[in-house]
Structures are given as structure tokens and as C-alpha cells.
Symmetry: C2
Subunit: 360 residues, 2 copies
């Protein structure tokens, strides 16, 4: 998987984007492992990491259910368990490359990772409580809590919370207590987090403490103000909560600004992922988008996980600055847009990103 | 209706709160007429007043209807017409009295008026188009259009638009072409505006050009970002679009800072209104809220219109500053809150407002 012509040392350590709350990203140029090691998996927090004593901890299910029910961690661990792969990407991944600059954590391209998650299915937990026929959404509430500073904002401290449509909640959402075979760390949501396969990371609520089944759409702060975008419907922009990830290929090597030897072979490599559909095609351009070549997709597709890809490139004999690009198409035929879509605001950054390299 | 002891000249002219867009309010101390004259009725605009040629103008009905349909002004005028009273209050009326200061037009207490509106029922217009069984909301779109400057904002110009739940749209919403027996002026929405009885003014879309029946909730800018408030549901704040007006009594005279003769009789008077329920009780306190006396409600209740009230007060013999207050209760038992509710943000300002008067 390594490029054949490495002339740059890439650190393996997470890069800090903010200290309180903790926000860390992977140096994407260090991409090697199909399953991202826990210590290389990006961390996204909205509030200070809550300290949770697992002995007193319970998960409460309430709202439009036959009867509210609580689960201890041992009770959840005794239920049928499932291990699934899921690539998770922060909805703001790539934000630092947007022009003009926008608000939010200034992620490079490493707020993405792929892990194996072990836990119980949300639908099994909901079945214990019994869904009422008027149930419409499933709201996941974390223990992380704090104040929102920018208007329009709720006046008091809020817990992080996101709603899921019943269709998704009843299908493949996992409540995970393990990540790559180890208990969750505090930063990754100990003792229990959601994993919403195919969706941007904001849906995979950490430090789960409560699940509320609602009979009407939940318009919490992170559902109606933050983590939303504008979509034209009937000729009118309407605000939509972010959900599925958008198809995207990222080049790991060469990285932005890398020096590449003139006239030499270089193995361009990276990863591609999408929403709930598999990646079907990855193409690479080494001439700033004028022509495209199909990259080789490595291994077999793994549902909801990224796909590694590579392409051998002969660097030009002429020295200078060159632009490499990658673009993915999913099995539903969706392709990355060539340019930024303004309606996406500060999220869903999946337009084709040129990587400038120096050929010497 | 005039106070018995007028020592202040109150102008009858609208007060300008901004020039572009035009925002004007009534000097509430000049309250005399049960039906507010057109030239004293407050004006609220979000964008420049559109210039509309009535000969080319059409109202288009589309979306979840059997067949899209268009109406000329003559066709609407030929339909069964209705005249209704409706008191309309801007959702930000009273904003300049909030502490701490909040964003928005700095209204005193005159962004409210009561008019007789003539037009056709929205439900009659919808019946012409034929509602589909999956119809959920009715979005009213105005011809007024412009850019939103504050994030989170749609990237391009938008038209002012608001959605109504089907229940309200099918009941008593009027599409008005006359206001107090005269054609609408440009500032009031010529040639056609909505009048949504009992709701804050933002629902009564002016310069109507299009009605879109939707099959899912409409989350336009003025429905999801602006003209919303936070409501606690299941222990989580959720963003709710403003709708019904909140019960409220306002003192017209004495006005804030008015000088009142010591030991003399003074007729305190004002108006009270609510949402879709009648005003049942107005109480007045002349001792900063320590004791309350029932005011006399004048005339008979008129559905969806304000109710005038008065109370004779003997000003104290001791000179000094006194606080007068009024509070209303509606027929559903809802009463004005004593203090500001933070969740309401910059809207729904119906807590009891003390009026300071100088007794000399």
C-alpha cells in the first residue's frame, strides 16, 4: 500500500485541531491500514469529554414506547452482539480547503477513519421497549453537554442529540461498546456510542445516555441549526439535516506539496467511500482534470467501509508544479462534483480537491 | 376612549424604524380606533417593496395538487368574497424593551394593528387546484426577495415564504385584496396578501405570487432559522416555528414616561389580544404588580380582533415615579407571564411590561 517513491516522512500521530473541546485528525498521508488503529482514529467533540462511571451508568429508552426501559452495560453486553465495519467521516472533513474560509474546526482531510464496531442493534433495544404505532423518529442523546454561543441558540446548556428517521433506526444502527475489539476510550464515547453506517459522523452520537422515540420531527440545535444544509425544493431553499456521507475519493500520497522525482514511477494511492452504496469507480487525473484514468480498486468491497485504490503514475520529466485529482463514483451512479456546492455551507465537502505536487 | 387627563400630545403618524427595508410602527399611545386606519397600520418588510403590475400578475397554485392552476386578480375577485377582522402583531413587537438587547428591528409597542380584510378563502383556492391525499403543508411565497446576510443562511437570494399546517390552511386563512375597504397599498402587499387570523404577522405573507402544497415539512429560512423559538420537548430544546400570537394587554395611555397630575382621576386604557381565543380578563396594577384590579372590557368580543379596555385610576397624591402594568388572560385560561421567557429569543414578547409614569 505504500507508495514506491516516498521521499517524505509522515508522522503517524493524530494532529490537534483544538484542545477544549478535543478535536484530533489523522494525518491522511499516513493511510496504510484498512482498519484504522484506534490511536489514529479522528476525534470530534462538541463539549468537554464527559467522565462516566460505568457501574452507575444506564441507557434509558422512553417516549413513544409501550413502556420506558433501562439497560445496564452488562444487560446490553448479554444481548445478541454484532460486529460491523463502518467508515466514519466528519461532515466538515476538508473544510480548511474551502475558499472563502468558513466557520468551524479547520480540518485538513484526516477527519475520517474506518473501524470495526461491536455492540447491539438499536432495533433490538427498541424492540425491548416496544415501539408505539405513532413513533416517528428516534433521538439519540449523549451525556456531553454545554452552552451554544452563536445565535440562533437555545438559552441554556444542551446535551448533544441527533434524531434518526425510523427507517434508518430500524435497520442497521449499532449501539457499540467496542471499537476494533477494545472497549471504547472516553474520547470515542465510553461506555456506549451509536454507529450509524453510511452517515456522517455527527449521527453516531457518543456517550449515549438516553433514547427518546418521538411522534414529530426533532428539531434540536444539531439537527436544525448546526449539521444542516440548504436544498432547493419547489424552487425554495429548505434546511435539511445532514445524513448520508457523499461519495468521495481522497489521495493519501502524494500529499499536498509533496516533492516527487521527475520521470520516476510513483504509486498514487488513497481511499474512497460513500454513503450506503459501494464505491464503483475511482478515477485519477494527473493533468489537473484534463484526462482521467481508472484506478485499481484493492481487495473486495466491504459494506459501509472505505475502499483502498491505487494507480501507477510516471511523473513528468519536466520539473514544475502539477495537480493530481481523484474522483469516485458509487454503485448508484453518483459522482463527486467538480466544484464546491455553495448550498452545502460548511459541510459535505466532496468536490474534487486538486493536490499540488512539486516534480523535481 | 381618550384618557380624561391628557397632558401629552401624541402624534398620529407612523414612526420609522428602518428605511430600506421599510419598517414603520404606530405610536401606540395614539390608540383610538378599534379598526386601525390604513395610514396608521404598522408596516413590516424584509426586502424592498416589490413593484407589481396587476395586469400581468397571477397567483400560481402547485405542488401536491391534482393539477397546477393560476388565478388572475379578476378571477379571484369573482370568487365568493369574505370580510374578516384580524388583529395582526409583529412577532418582535416590544423588542426594544428586552434586556439584554437582542438583534432585530427595535420596535416599541406599536407593531400591532387591527383591520378588516376582504378577499377569498385560501381553502376555496386550494379546492380549485384539488389537494392530493399526501398534502401536508401549504407554503405561501411572496414576490419580495433578497439576500440573507447572517449565517446559517442560504447562499443565494430567496423569496419570503412561510409554511402553514394543512389544518390552519383549510380553516380560516384569507387571501386579501382589500384592507379596510380599500385596495392594498404596495407596503401592505398589493395586489394580494395572506391574512392568517390569530397568528403573528410573519405568517400573513404579502405580495403573494405562489402557493406550493408540500408533502413534507417546509424548512425555509423564515420557518427554520428566523421566526422560530426554542421549546423543551422530552427534556431537549427543539426549534419551533412561531405561529399563534400570545395573549397580551398593552397600555396605550398613560405612555412610558407620561406626566400625570397628582391626586387626579386618570382613565388608563389600552387593547388586549391573543391567538385564536378571545380575551377573557384584563387586569391592571398601579402599584408595580403588588395588587391587580379588573379592567372594563369595552364593546363585544370580535373573533380574532383585539379588545379595548379601560380602568379609572386616581393618581397618588404623593409625587414620584409609579409603575403601571396590565395583564390579559384568554378564554383558554392562558395568562401573560410575569417575566421574560428566555427560550422565546427575540420574539413573542408578551411578559408584563411595566409603564413608568411621573406623578407631579
Amino acid at each position: 500500500m505504500n507508495s514506491t517513491d516516498m521521499d517524505t516522512i509522515v508522522e503517524d500521530r493524530l494532529i490537534s485541531r483544538s484542545e477544549e473541546p478535543v478535536n484530533l485528525e489523522m494525518p491522511f498521508a499516513s493511510l496504510r491500514e484498512f482498519v484504522t488503529p484506534n490511536e489514529k482514529f479522528y476525534v470530534r467533540c462538541h463539549f468537554p469529554v464527559p467522565t462516566i462511571d460505568p457501574t452507575g451508568w444506564k441507557l434509558r429508552i422512553e417516549g413513544a414506547v409501550s413502556a420506558p426501559v433501562e439497560f445496564t452495560l452488562d444487560q446490553l453486553r448479554a444481548m445478541p452482539r454484532h460486529t460491523i465495519a463502518a467508515t466514519m467521516e466528519c461532515a466538515g472533513n476538508g473544510r480548511s480547503h474551502l475558499e472563502p474560509k468558513v466557520k468551524g474546526v479547520a480540518w485538513d482531510i484526516g477527519a475520517v477513519g474506518n473501524a470495526e464496531w461491536t455492540g447491539v442493534l438499536l432495533r433490538d433495544v427498541l424492540a425491548h421497549a416496544g415501539l408505539r404505532t405513532d413513533a416517528q423518529e428516534v433521538v439519540l442523546e449523549g451525556a456531553d453537554r454545554g452552552a451554544i454561543k452563536e445565535p440562533p441558540r437555545p438559552p441554556n446548556d444542551i446535551n448533544y442529540a441527533r434524531g434518526l428517521p425510523m427507517e434508518k433506526a430500524s435497520r442497521d444502527v449499532l449501539l457499540a461498546f467496542e471499537m476494533n475489539g477494545e472497549p471504547l476510550t472516553p474520547e470515542h464515547g465510553f461506555p456506549l456510542r451509536a454507529v450509524v453506517p453510511g452517515w456522517f459522523g455527527m449521527a453516531s452520537v457518543k456517550w449515549l445516555q438516553r433514547i427518546v422515540v418521538t411522534t414529530q420531527p426533532f428539531n434540536g440545535y444539531y439537527q436544525s441549526i448546526d449539521y444542516t444544509y440548504w436544498e432547493e425544493r419547489d424552487g425554495m431553499p429548505t434546511l435539511v439535516p445532514l445524513a448520508e456521507m457523499r461519495v468521495k475519493a481522497q489521495i493519501a500520497r502524494p500529499h499536498m506539496g509533496e516533492v516527487v522525482a521527475a520521470g520516476q514511477e510513483y504509486r498514487v494511492h488513497g481511499a474512497a467511500w460513500g454513503g450506503e452504496d459501494d464505491v464503483a469507480i475511482v478515477e485519477v487525473s494527473t493533468d489537473a482534470g484534463a484526462t482521467w484514468k481508472a484506478a485499481t480498486l484493492l481487495g473486495e468491497p466491504v459494506k459501509n467501509a472505505w475502499r483502498f485504490w491505487e494507480l501507477d503514475w510516471t511523473a513528468p520529466a519536466d520539473r514544475g508544479t502539477y495537480q493530481l485529482m481523484a474522483r469516485a463514483t458509487d454503485s448508484a451512479g453518483r459522482i463527486q462534483p467538480p466544484h464546491r456546492i455553495a448550498e452545502y455551507g460548511t459541510y459535505m465537502i466532496n468536490h474534487v480537491l486538486p493536490i499540488r505536487v512539486e516534480v523535481r
